[in-house]
């Protein structure tokens, strides 16, 4: 299973075989059912999760509502709080949306490795940079694309998630009202179907 994480890491930054060995040693294989919270057990320890199977969402509660800020699936990483500057409790919770398996690494053990291996220091920096870029992209998406376009882009780029994530959560993630989400989904699917019919493609 580590090979999946190894591939992921090698795309970001090359680390030595020895460093891979040490990383592998601190990976914990975890299995969760559906709608299981990840950080209940991790109350006093932060973990970074690499998903080998399943979907996890990152969310916070506001009054009675959930605000979903991130969705991650196979081959992606997710954590509740990425910074070591946490002087406050984590705002976010992590929850599985279907049966999920992860390779999880404790921040404490990772930092111990970090102290000894320059390759891992570089990897951290590059990982952080990726997260920084992703967060900038997120901010941009909110203003760059109108609701309908955000929805269309999502349907285009992550169609698998439509079937795996409850509609209410998807709507929150895209920052769209649930009713608007339903309406747009119907309208955009119909539009797509019409296009296919007109081009004599079989409608599945």
């Amino acid at each position: 299973m580590y090979i999946l994480l190894e591939t992921f890491i090698d795309k970001i930054s090359s680390i030595s075989e020895e460093e891979h060995y040490h990383l592998h040693k601190i990976c914990e294989v975890r299995s969760y059912g559906r709608y299981e919270k990840l950080n209940i057990e991790d109350q006093y320890e932060e973990y970074l999760h690499f998903i080998t199977k399943g979907v996890i969402r990152k969310f916070c509660k506001k009054d009675e509502e959930d605000i979903t800020i991130q969705l991650a699936q196979e081959g992606e990483i997710i954590c509740a709080d990425v910074t070591v500057f946490s002087d406050q409790p984590t705002r976010y919770q992590l929850e599985t949306l279907e049966p999920t398996t992860t390779l999880s690494i404790s921040k404490k053990r990772f930092l111990e490795l970090y102290d000894k291996h320059p390759g891992i220091q570089r990897l951290s920096r590059k990982l952080l940079t990726l997260m920084l870029l992703k967060s900038e992209e997120y901010e941009l998406e909110q203003v760059k694309y109108a609701l309908r376009d955000r929805m269309a882009r999502f349907l285009e780029s992550q169609p698998q998630l439509i079937n795996r994530v409850p509609q209410k959560i998807l709507a929150s993630y895209l920052n769209i009202q649930p009713e608007t989400f339903s309406r747009l989904k119907t309208s955009l699917s119909a539009h797509k179907q019409n296009f296919e019919v007109n081009n004599n493609h079989p409608v599945i």
Binding site: S124, R125, L128, T129, L132, E136
Partner: protein, 208 residues
């Protein structure tokens, strides 16, 4: 606040700033300063234009800087940076690609910057700076995540109150339409909220 013209004077400012978040020595800050440059901009001058590659990571030393994107002719403010805030086009800087966003000085501004080339040199100079560099990146990420959280989790009104509470002088220094855009409220809503606040005298009084 007096305008700090020399990098040497900036040293204290940077030392005090970084010390809040990480263990760094004065000698290390002195070393860092060798990689930095001070840049000044006039009001409304562009620090980065669409299509340009962002060559700098910046921190505002004095003044106010705005980051925005134009969507269908509409100006959408992404960030308003005051003293002590970082501001750049991350994607453009890290990928060395053409920027989609614009960065401009809202008032006469001095920023301290590190160029892409100098940053690589700094990070390669020692393990220690590889790590400190990572810590600073984490700071950037923390600030942005904080912004994203507030924008999603707070109502417009709550965000407005929170924002003004933490930036009491911002209304005098930044055109209202930009603040409204940043908070994600219509200008009319912004005016209404402002008058509500005025009634409650919750912010300092220099407003006409």
């Amino acid at each position: 606040m007096p305008i700090r013209k020399s990098l040497h004077e900036i040293g204290d400012y940077i030392y005090n700033y970084l010390q809040r978040y990480m263990d760094v020595t004065r000698e290390e800050v002195q070393f860092l300063i060798g990689f930095l440059e001070l840049r000044s901009f006039n009001r409304k001058e562009k620090i980065l234009n669409v299509g340009e590659v962002d060559q700098h990571l910046n921190m505002v030393i004095q003044g106010i800087v705005r980051k925005y994107i134009e969507v269908d002719g509409l100006d959408c403010t992404l960030q308003i940076a005051q003293e002590g805030h970082f501001i750049q086009s991350d994607r453009s800087f890290h990928e060395q690609s053409a920027s989609e966003i614009v960065i401009e000085a809202v008032e006469k501004t001095t920023i301290i910057s590190i160029s892409h080339q100098q940053l690589q040199r700094l990070l390669a100079s020692s393990d220690r700076w590889e790590r400190l560099g990572t810590n600073i990146l984490m700071l950037l990420l923390k600030h942005r995540e904080s912004r994203i959280y507030k924008k999603r989790a707070l109502s417009s009104r709550e965000y407005f109150m929170h924002f003004l509470k933490h930036h009491p002088d911002i209304i005098q220094r930044v055109p209202q339409k930009y603040i409204a855009s940043y908070l994600g409220v219509k200008p009319e809503t912004f005016s209404r909220l402002k008058h509500l606040l005025k009634g409650k005298r919750l912010y300092k009084n220099n407003i006409s």
